[in-house]
Symmetry: C2
Subunit: 185 residues, 2 copies
């Protein structure tokens, strides 16, 4: 089975900016979405392991140690080779190096989602996942840790920037405008 | 003369994103704008030197060598101490460390201006300053060099993001919306 992927829409942004919401909008419109986490889950499944957070974390750590910081992106590219869709959305880009990996094999447009630190903090508090920060200091530390992977570079060099600070309806409007500019709608 | 500055509007963004245009819109509305370059020009004037690019470059390099990467921001803060305006716009923030210097003394809201690499490259080509890049490779190198000063971090953590990819009229609309949100209009 040879792949027929023609174009990637690469989504990046800080925690709580709305990356997953954007991916969800694409999915509702019938686009195929691959999240970096899916790839790790796929590896767990191949190895016959339950996809617990511990197992997934350990697999991600293992392949990064073995193949470097862009290992997950490389695994994604391998999976894309077997996909039939013309356009695939990739959620969870965390560095410019990952962007370069995808662009080494496909035409990739980079979309950043932005929201202010204040708003992202509020959202993460509301979401309340077990790994979400409990206070602003911890949140700020996590932001800086994530930026250490050159996430800020990827955001600064995005081809499209969606500012997600209003309602979901407003964000859907920005998403529709993006589809038109990408000419994939 | 004791200062009475209450709030700073800190402008950041990549080359060609439209920082100066935004500063100009603030200026037209009567806001006081301090550019990081002005501070260097002020130092040249104090020393009785002509503000040629060579002289300004040499002064900037000198004070950074003497006082570290945030030296220009520190000089700006000194100048702000003698200013009477309640709100001052600072143009040309290049790192998160500079943001921290300003926020050490004032309430500062960080505004990033964004445009895609493609659009910024076109603009810089049209502007055609002598120090503007002649080809995309040189432009990309300069982007990465600027990002090395943690400019990407400042952009990623901006309180407000203005996407400057349409007309000047459209950008003016975003500016007006920003004034409302900042409650300084």
């Amino acid at each position: 089975m040879s792949g027929s992927v023609k174009k990637l829409i690469l989504i990046t942004g800080m925690s709580g900016s709305g990356k997953t919401t954007l991916a969800e909008l694409f999915r509702e419109d019938g686009f195929s979405v691959l999240t970096m986490g899916d790839v790790i889950r796929g590896l767990a499944s191949e190895r016959g392991l339950e996809p617990t957070p511990e197992v997934l974390g350990s697999i991600a750590k293992g392949i990064r140690e073995e193949h470097g910081d862009t290992a997950v992106a490389v695994k994604c590219v391998e999976r894309l080779g077997g996909m039939e869709e013309a356009v695939v959305v990739i959620d969870g880009i965390r560095s410019l190096a990952e962007v370069d990996v995808f662009r080494g094999s496909f035409k990739g447009v980079l979309v950043a989602v932005h929201a202010s630190p204040e708003m992202r903090y509020e959202r993460l508090r509301e979401r309340g996942r077990s790994d979400d920060p409990q206070d602003f200091g911890t949140f700020r530390e996590r932001d800086l840790r994530e930026l250490g992977f050159s996430l800020g570079w990827a955001i600064a060099l995005a081809d499209h920037m969606l500012v997600n600070e209003g309602t979901l309806e407003g964000f859907r409007g920005l998403y529709k405008g993006l589809l038109e500019r990408l000419e994939v709608g």
